[in-house]
Structures are given as structure tokens and as C-alpha cells.
Amino acid sequence: MNKFFVLVKKEIKELITIEMILPLIIMVVMFASIGNLLSSETKKMATPQALWIINEDGSSSANEAIEELKKAKYEIVLFNQKIEPVLKEAKQKNISGVLVFSPGFGQGIEKFEVQKIKLYSIVSNFSLISSIKSQGTMTAIGVVNRHFLDEWLKNKNINIKADDLIQPVGLEEYVVIGDKQAKIPLAQAMNFITKQTTLIPIILFMVIILAAQMVAMSVANEKENKTLETLLSSPVDRKTIVFAKLFSAGLVAILFSGVYMIGFNYYINGISGGALSSPAGQDIGQVMSDLGVSFGIGSYALLGISLFFGILVALAIAIILGILVESVKSVQAVTTPLMILVLLPYFLIMFLDINTVSSAIKYLLYAIPFSHPFLAAQKIITHDYLFIIYGIVYQAFIFLIFVIIAAKIFSSDKVFTLRLGKKKSEIKN
């Protein structure tokens, strides 16, 4: 046991270097900064939006429309100038749009004639934030439309609200999960689940790839530097060497992923802050909990175990791949098939409904040990815990097979003679 820790200490010292830590810190700071920036931009958008209006008409109808916009929390700034100087100023002050009520607007409305408001959308960049701001200006037109539709209906003695006329059939949404149901829009329920599970595939992908590359790189490095020959001729059990490598790479990968996760969390909270927030007055967390969709410690523990075995399988395969290469330069190429094996279930599960795909695809997915953590995230929602446990047992079985193969290779000549693309006879003697 003592030698295991001696080896682990050495492995960790080799893995955690300033060259490794620096990009990690930069990445985390970058993601956290982007997240914070997006979050503050989203908050800014939630505050009353500035709307510049040129009222060339001056009629009571135009004034009514402006009052309605004020009620709808728009910060109205009125101008009596021509459009050009207003646009120039709007550009300078980063205003996204200018509305113009043309002469005759009020008269037309009173005659029940369809009128047009001119909207000048100022495009200064093509960012997502800019696009959302422009949509805010468009919403202002909707406010005006609803107001005049209400007015027209009143004048025609029709006792009906504009919203009801536009959408005479409303929707009362219920979401059913398992044997439980709750009154909540499907989109909101899905948004909640997405928010809870978005990080899982990202982390899974990152940890597996990072850990696999680390261990493959470690073996390739040892082969290239011939430190492996030194180590294998020393009084230490070969299996201990294999396990120390697996343990250290897994540990460092989990540590690094934890740090990545913090950065990503900031980022995702930043980009999803508005879109995934619950509507006022409704505790979505409670509603989802009533539906049985609660990601408690038990759920996360099951997910964690599935993820842990996914990492172990990747490590055991990667250590064998590391043996196959002659230099560290080849590590990237040799671990590519492993990355594909992780990416394939990620995309298939993201885009396909596992319950309706053909049996061939379903069993292919089940056969890939990296599918199970992705599937576990879904199965937790439907409370299919047995499936998750079977998945973990399957992953453990696959890990055992590969780790036995790795230990056997390390205990034989094959650790030096196995290689890709060269014949055994080419070995130096």
C-alpha cells in the first residue's frame, strides 16, 4: 500500500504542472467572466427599456398609445425633431430603436383603418443581447396593437378583450411524470430539468477525455523517457503501477473538472439566467419536487457512481492505448476513437428518443459504457433506478475486463513490444 501512495504522489507531481494549471485558471476565469457579463446584461434587459418616439401626429390616439407604452414599463423619450438627428443621437446613446407616429395616424385609427408605425431598429452589432433588445422594441408594437384593438371592439360594442379575440382557446398545461402530475407549462418543466442536467454531459465529456489523455500521456511519456523500464525493473508490483496511474489520473481529472464546473456554472447561469427563471409567484422547484423530479443527494450520488465508472472504463482503455504509442505526440491520435465513443452516445441521446429508436441503435447505446452516465441523468427523472444500477454493474464489468488486460500487458513483454503500425521484429535488440 505504501508503494501505491509513493507512486500516486509521483504521478500527481508529474500531472499537476504550471503548464497544466495556467490554462485551467485562464479558462475558468474566462468562463466566469463571460457568465457574469451575460448575467449583468440580462439584468439590464429586465430593467425598463428605453424607447424613443417621434410623435409627428400629435393626435389623442398617438398620445394614448404612448401612455400605454409607459404603462408597459417602457422609458419613453419624446422628440419633435426630424428622424435623422434623432437616429444620430440614438446611435451615440446605444438606443436600439426609434418609433415614429406619422401624421394622420390618429385619424386613420378613428376611422378603423389599419395604420403603420415606423420602427427604426438600430443595429450596432450582431450579438445575442443586441438581438434580444430589438425584440423588446418589437414587443412595444404589440402593446399598441392590443390597446387599439380593445378600443375598436369597445366602439363596436363588442364586449370582448383583444387577447381573448386573438386567442379564443387558452391552454391549461399539466405535466405528467411517472404516476405524478402537476399544473405547469411543459416548456418551464423542461427548462428546469435542462438547467439541472446541462452540466452533466459537459462534465462527463470533459472528465473522460481529460482523464484518458492524462493516463495515456503518462504511459507514453514513461515509455519515451524509458522511466517505465526503470520502474518495471524495480521491486514494485506491476499491478500497483497500473492502479496508481489510473487512480492519479482519475483524481486529477476529477479535481480539474470540479474547477471547470465552477467556471461553467457561472457561464450557464449567466446565459440561462432569464430564460430558465421561474415566473413570478410560482415556485418551480417545489412544483417539480411534487412531480418527483428532485435532484437530491441520492440522485446525484447515483449519477456520480455512474460517472465514476465511466471514468474508470475510459482510464483502463486509455492506459492500454498509451502502451500502443511510441511517443507522446501520438497520444492525441490514439485516443481519438475513445473520444468518438464518448461523443456518440452524447449526441445520440441528445437528439433521439431512446424509447422509440430501433433496437439496434438502442443496444448499441447500451453496449457503449459511456452511454450510461448520460442515460442515468434521464432515468433519474423517470425514477428508473434499476436501469441505472444495471448500467453501473455493466460499466464495472467492462472496467474489470480492461483493467485485467492492462495489468496482463504490464506484466509481460507486450508493454514494450506492442505498438501501432510497426512489426514486433523491428524492436531494438
Binding site: V6, K9, K13
Partner: protein
Amino acid sequence: MQKILEVKNLKKNYGNLEAVKGVSFDIFENEIFGLVGPNGAGKSTVLKIIATILSMNGGQVLLCGEDLQKNSDKIRRMISYLPEEAGAYKNLTGLDYLNFMAAIYTDDRKKQKEFLEFGKEISNLGSRLKDKAKTYSKGMTRKLMLARAVMSRPKLAILDEPTSGLDVINGFEIRKIIKRLADEGMAVLLSSHNMLEVEFLSEKVAMIDKGEIKAEGSPLELKNRYNSQNLEEVFIKIANY
């Protein structure tokens, strides 16, 4: 003198290639035994088999009476192997590396300290031991590697091309250390294609070519037997080049 190593009819194949074809020799304590031959002659393979990192296809290797095939774990405690052009772990300091290897060879803290002190003395790297191994020159790395190989005072040190690629000064220092260790009782098996170096270092030499030992004896015996000025000439004559 005690016999440390006994190699009997050692054979090794790589697929259809017979890399070693029945090699036999003995090494005694205090002895530096040189295995010389051109590239691809089978020197490194013989050394790797004795170092327990390659298996054999035939023959027997005994170290202090212990059979390598039956007791490789026991043998690993008595030997130390320095591969050709071996490097250290790049992100460890020289001191970290010696510490690590000392802990691999023994769990006893007191012995670890002894190994470390001896390793520091042999490496003669002084304060540079606190620097990372990746900053070392080739000569410094080789000294560190040699220090690592002998610090546990093995019964047999297996050194593959110990001075390969080194300049005159570093090569001279390494040779001096090897001589000193043998004088202190260590048996040394070294391989080299530098016959002049082996002539200077070794009490006994085996000339290997195409997986077979063509001649064995002290450098003086071999030179007299083949009426040659030096071992290079001996080799050319016996190998019919």
C-alpha cells in the same frame, strides 16, 4: 569470489527473429563485465531479460542462486537497471526523483535516507538537485540516472550504454564512478558498442554479434588470443567483418 550472476544458454525470440541464440556467461562480485557488440547484436535484449523486464524463450538466469523465472520479485530487490538514454521524470526535481526511487526500493525510512545520501554523493549535482530534471543537461541527467541505479547498492548493476552520447568529461566521470562502485563490491554488467571504453573499464568482456557470444575473456586475453592491438580489432577479426 562469490558468483553473482549466472546466465546459461539464454534465448529470446521476437516473433520469427532469434534475437538471442543461447548466450552464457558468469559475473562475480567486484567484477565489471562488459557485453560488447554492434547495434542490433542483442546486448540490450540480454540486459533487459536480466533486468526482468523481458521474458526469455529458453535458458536460465540465476542471481545469487535465485532463478529469475521463478523469483523475479526477489531478483528485483538485488538488481538495478539503467536503460540506454533513460530520462528522469521531467517535472520532478533531481532530489524528488532520488527520494521516489529510494521509497520504491525500501519502506524503511532510515534506509531511504541512506540511499538518498549515497545517491546525492554519486550524482555530485549539489544544489542543482533541487532543480527540475527537465532543466538538466544530458551529462547531468546521466549522472542522476547512474546515482539512482546504484544508490540502493544492488548486488548487480545493469548499465546499458552508460556513457552513450556524453562528452569526454562526463564520460570520464561516469567511468570513474563505475570503477569505484566495483571496487566497493558491486558487480556490474554493462553493455557498450564503445570497445575502447569497455577495455578500460572491464575485467571481463563478452563479444556478442547476431545474438551469439563470439568470444569471452579479459581484454588482455582477447587481444593476445587474436593478436590484436585493441578490442575493436579483436571484434573485427572474430565477426569476419
